[in-house]
């Protein structure tokens, strides 16, 4: 790329501190000049926005790289988009953006990437503002990398925008971004073949809010302190790998009508009961994984620890493959609401259950009797840990025997015929 040198801007930069102090008086003129300069760029050129506070900008020339001086602040003065990208192959980077509009009706955004802006690269920006952070408006092949997006915490959650909003995009790569205190972190709707990787999403409504989007890869993301980590809905062929949900509420990972997808090596830890005003909501127990009307999926090597409920499986979520998952110290390991029994092992490999009480007499690392997580005794033992002391007592043996003779006490549910005696190799909390 040719670096276009603009002498008067070099000079201007030399006085950046002074200029920053008085910029509010002259920002209109500076902005008009800047906008003119941006509009006159030739494709292939680069341009650095000068230090100081400048107002909203529009990028109309394709194939340019626009970045910011380290003291540049783009301040949209409370309305509209701060930066709007209208042409192909534009690189926009290293800018501080704030105070864009809060009109959700108009999709106000820190960076609005329009339909025509195919191949845009948005990187290393720092955004603080009320409505959407970055909106991708059906734009193909966009890269959004290493942006920090912070919402306006003073606003009610529902009056804020989402951190990164993928509307009807394809081929997007969303990686290494940090998003907090927006409404939802990353919202994906009707958007296929995108990669969402290594993002950190904290203090949000939903970390990843997902509707009707196919063939996406979600990898190595972290949600923390959200009101649902990953809400995956009505979609097919997802790859959900190595993600973490930490201390989220309601759901770590929610799957509603998800088919032909894989969940591998995800860690869901400490999902707690949903609350309003600090009060627990009855019936909103924290679920590590909610699998609802979701079939033909593979669950391998996932780690569910310290959740109210490890997995809640229902609405005919059958024909899923489970192996090498670990269920550790979830108050209720599995909540299975259905009328047909499900085998949860694959090719002789089951899962690790922290409350498994059987023996491994032949020491083959597989428990000798099947683990049935809806077994009432297991729940009794969770609820009254002291009862473990009674495990060999005739009374408990009698109870188990009674329970098996009279299945009314025992719901149909999940059965793991090959429970693992130790954590699967390589599985780490």
């Amino acid at each position: 790329m040719i670096i276009k040198k603009l002498r008067h801007f070099k000079t201007w930069q030399g006085f950046s501190f002074l200029m920053a102090a008085i910029c509010s008086f002259i920002s209109f003129n500076i902005n008009a000049a800047l906008q003119t300069n941006l509009d006159r760029l030739e494709p292939g050129e680069s341009f650095t926005l000068p230090a100081g506070t400048i107002s909203s900008l529009v990028l109309r020339v394709p194939n340019v790289a626009v970045s910011c001086h380290k003291n540049t602040v783009i301040d949209a003065e409370g309305h509209g988009h701060a930066v709007e990208i209208l042409a192909e192959e534009i690189i926009f980077s290293d800018c501080q953006i704030r105070n864009w509009g809060q009109d959700l009706n108009k999709l106000d955004a820190g960076i609005f990437v329009s339909r025509q802006a195919r191949g845009a690269v948005i990187k290393n920006n720092r955004l603080i503002g009320p409505a959407f952070g970055i909106w991708l408006d059906a734009t193909p092949d966009v890269i959004v990398r290493n942006n920090h997006i912070h919402g306006e915490a003073k606003l009610r959650s529902q009056d804020r925008g989402n951190g990164i909003h993928l509307f009807n995009t394809s081929g997007a790569l969303i990686e290494e971004n940090q998003i907090s205190e927006t409404r939802d972190g990353i919202y994906i709707e009707s958007a296929n073949n995108n990669t969402i990787r290594n993002n950190l999403m904290t203090s949000l409504r939903y970390g990843v809010h997902y509707m009707y989007s196919m063939d996406n890869l979600l990898e190595k993301n972290i949600t923390r302190g959200t009101r649902t980590g990953y809400a995956l809905m009505q979609s097919k062929r997802l790859k959900v790998i190595d993600n973490r949900s930490e201390e989220d509420e309601n759901y770590g990972i929610l799957m509603n009508f998800i088919t032909d997808s894989i969940l591998v090596n995800n860690v869901v830890e400490g999902v707690s009961q949903g609350q309003t005003a600090g009060k627990d909501i009855s019936g909103a127990e924290g679920k590590g994984l909610f699998v609802y009307n979701s079939l033909f999926n593979t669950f391998d090597g996932n780690y569910f620890i310290d959740n109210n409920i490890g997995i809640h499986l229902t609405a005919g979520s059958e024909d899923n493959k489970f192996k090498n998952n670990a269920f550790i110290n979830n108050a209720h390991q599995v909540k299975y609401v259905a009328n047909r029994i499900q085998e949860w092992s694959t090719d002789g490999v089951g899962n690790y259950w922290s409350d498994y009480l059987g023996w491994d007499m032949n020491d083959d690392a597989i428990g000798d009797v099947a683990y049935e997580p809806n077994d009432g005794i297991d729940r009794l033992l969770w609820k009254y840990p002291a009862a473990k002391l009674l495990i060999n007592s005739p009374s408990v043996i009698m109870l188990r025997w009674v329970q098996r003779q009279f299945p009314i006490l025992k719901s149909l549910g999940v059965k793991d015929s090959y429970p693992l005696m130790t954590l699967p190799a390589g599985l780490m909390p």
Binding site: N105, S157, Y212, G278, S282, R379, L389, L390
Partner: protein, 638 residues
């Protein structure tokens, strides 16, 4: 389970370094004595039953209030009217027993009653050739905000119609085709001072006129419609921006609100999802009536219906932005709020009806009527009420009903640290509408809640790939919602309405002067026939009218003669006075069957195309000699 007294147990050395930790622990536990606490086992055992219940299907039936079990011979406390979806019919259930009491054919063809075959039903169905319908929203007429038990109205999304059912006879008596629009979806009634109008939303936008000269989306619009509830004529139509989904009316008679999920006016799925906010459009009935009266309307094509313009900027409407693709729109029974259900947003938007005057007078801005937007859970679709200040919203994605308190949600919105959610209850599976007893009237009594679940999956014995729906009954009389009943239903109830049994007064038998068969009476009069006594054949060219009475177990005529090719109309008047002695008239090999209930006259017309003998018989069981209740049609060769 391992028997610790089994002498063949392998010896496990807990100090063996090759033994797994689990084995060591288990073995240690096994060997350890527990005599100190063995006494506690009895107590634990006694409480064990309750531990098994919460996640099991079987047990969910046992933990309810119990009084939903209506014993043999006992009567239900409520009538429930269920829409039959694309079966085109309406059904009556007893609540809380959930026993199906009756089906009312509306837009469908019904073999049992002859609906769609008889002349009386054809007159109601009108000139439209459709044999299907799609019923969603059944609503009962009101006077001063109380159900008056007179009519039930139901939409036909499939063929853009509205039907009225007379609740004294439980028969459809009028069907209106709404012009200039497509797909009547949301439907509600004026509540106050009485049901003067049936309000209904046409969902899809079309060019007007839709005559093949214009196809663009830009020049397509849809309309909000008002039908006069007595005449069933379309009173007026209002063109709107966006599309129209569900609707409800207030308790003053001034305002009606409707949701729009496609403010984008997109024809592709992605396009309908783009906007972060769509809207609720509010209609001022007074202003619309005044505009129509002042002549500020147009008509379109052949239709004479006044059409007014309610698009953005109009004085007749206001557009209130609400989050993303809202669906249900419900008025709280205290008349204070419209509640728009977020669908793609986990929120409901509460609109204060007492702020709408100011909105229409431009004293406040478009979002100001929103006084709360509680976050309830994933996929809120419809909200219903218990009359005690609580709302119950279906959450499609969570597959739950959430009970929440409206005033607490408002306080929370104003910044108070108040918890507004009371409880979430799992339902099975994918709830759509829900409906509490008397909830659309001032008399909402908070006893029963029906949740109409779209999938039943494994809740019933499998019956092949097509599954029943699952309409679940929930006891909401106490603080805690309790699921008490699973009700399988055939395609495909969208909504229901529960009304106290004393609010419905049905006729035990027909009045022989009932307007339902006025045309038959008129024809008989012309023919000099007394429907109540005469058995006779009137020939009128190649039209033959056969009049007969029926008294169990005989038809008034056990034989009549016609010529091949005659157009034959058979009028049967059931002279039985005894409740439930309904007759049928079925002409073998002619596709002819109909119901004739006590004191009713029914008629049916067919061509006697085949010479020979054709038996007719009584098809609704009536008498010990029901099988003997027959006759012969003699068709002479042409």
């Amino acid at each position: 389970m391992i028997d610790k007294n089994d002498n063949n147990l392998p010896v496990i050395d807990t100090e063996d370094c090759h033994a797994s930790e689990h084995v060591k622990m288990s073995r240690r536990l096994f060997l350890g004595s527990s005599t100190a606490v063995v006494g506690a086992v009895g107590a634990l055992g006694a409480g064990i039953g309750s531990l098994f219940s919460s996640s099991t299907v079987a047990d969910s039936h046992k933990n309810g209030a119990g009084d939903h079990n209506i014993g043999p011979g006992d009567l239900d406390e409520y009538y429930g009217f269920w829409s039959g979806g694309h079966s085109g019919e309406v059904r009556i259930l007893g609540v809380p027993s959930m026993r199906e009491l009756m089906r009312i054919p509306v837009f469908n063809i019904d073999s049992a009653t002859g609906w769609g075959l008889t002349n009386e039903s054809k007159e109601v169905l009108g000139d439209y050739p459709y044999q299907n319908g799609d019923c969603h929203h059944p609503h009962i007429s009101l006077t001063d905000g109380h159900y008056d038990g007179k009519y039930l109205f139901i939409n036909d999304k499939a063929n853009t119609r509205v039907a009225r059912i007379r609740l004294d006879i439980m028969k459809t008596d009028r069907i209106t085709h709404v012009p200039n629009v497509q797909a009547i979806h949301g439907l509600r009634l004026q509540k106050v001072p009485y049901t003067k109008y049936v309000f209904c939303n046409a969902e899809f936008f079309i060019p007007q006129p839709n005559d093949g000269n214009e196809f663009s989306l830009e020049k397509s619009y849809t309309m909000f419609n008002a039908i006069d509830a007595e005449t069933m004529e379309v009173a007026w139509q209002v063109i709107v921006d966006g599309n129209l989904d569900n609707t409800d009316a207030d308790y003053t008679g001034k305002y009606v609100a409707a949701t729009c999920y496609n403010s984008e006016k997109a024809s592709d799925l992605a396009g309908t999802m783009r906007n972060d906010r769509d809207w609720v459009v509010v209609f001022s009935i007074e202003r619309i009536e005044a505009a129509v009266k002042a002549g500020s309307f147009k008509t379109i094509g052949d239709s004479k219906v006044p059409v007014v313009d309610g698009r953005k900027g109009s004085d007749l409407t206001r557009y209130i932005p609400v989050p993303k693709n809202p669906h249900g729109l419900n008025t709280s029974p205290d008349g204070k709020y419209f509640i728009a259900n977020g669908k793609l947003s986990p929120t409901c938007s509460i609109i204060a009806i007492d702020r709408l005057d100011d909105l229409f007078e431009n004293k406040i801005s478009e979002r100001d009527p929103i006084i709360a937007e509680p976050e309830l859970g994933l996929g809120p679709l419809h909200t219903t009420f218990d009359g005690r200040g609580n709302a119950y919203t279906t959450l499609f994605i969570d597959s739950q009903v959430v009970k929440w308190n409206i005033e607490d949600a408002i306080k929370h919105y104003q910044g108070e640290e108040v918890s507004y959610i009371r409880q979430k209850l799992d339902v099975h599976y994918q709830p759509g509408h829900n409906h509490a007893s008397l909830t659309e009237s001032r008399d909402a009594d908070g006893k029963w809640l029906v949740v109409l679940s779209k999938f039943s999956k494994d809740r019933f014995l499998p019956v092949g790939p097509l599954h029943p729906e699952n309409d679940q009954l929930i006891d909401i009389s106490g603080e805690e919602m309790k699921l008490v009943h699973d009700g399988p239903t055939y395609a495909e109830p969208h909504d229901c309405i529960l009304v106290r049994r004393d609010q419905i007064k049905t006729k035990k038998i027909w009045d022989p002067k009932d307007p339902f068969f006025a045309s038959a009476r008129k024809q008989a009069e012309k023919d000099g026939v007394d429907l109540e006594y005469d058995n006779t054949v009137i020939r009128d060219g190649n039209k033959v009218r056969v009049y007969m009475i029926s008294v169990a177990p005989v038809f008034g005529l056990n034989e009549f003669k016609v010529k091949q090719g005659d157009e034959v109309t058979v009028y049967v008047s059931n002279r039985d006075m005894v409740e439930d002695v309904t007759h049928g008239f079925c002409m073998v090999n002619h596709g002819v069957n109909m119901e004739i209930s006590p004191q009713q006259t029914s008629s049916i017309t067919f061509i006697a195309s085949k010479p020979g003998v054709h038996w007719y018989y009584c098809s609704w069981f009536c008498h010990a000699l029901h099988m003997e209740m027959t006759g012969r049609m003699i068709v002479e060769k042409a």
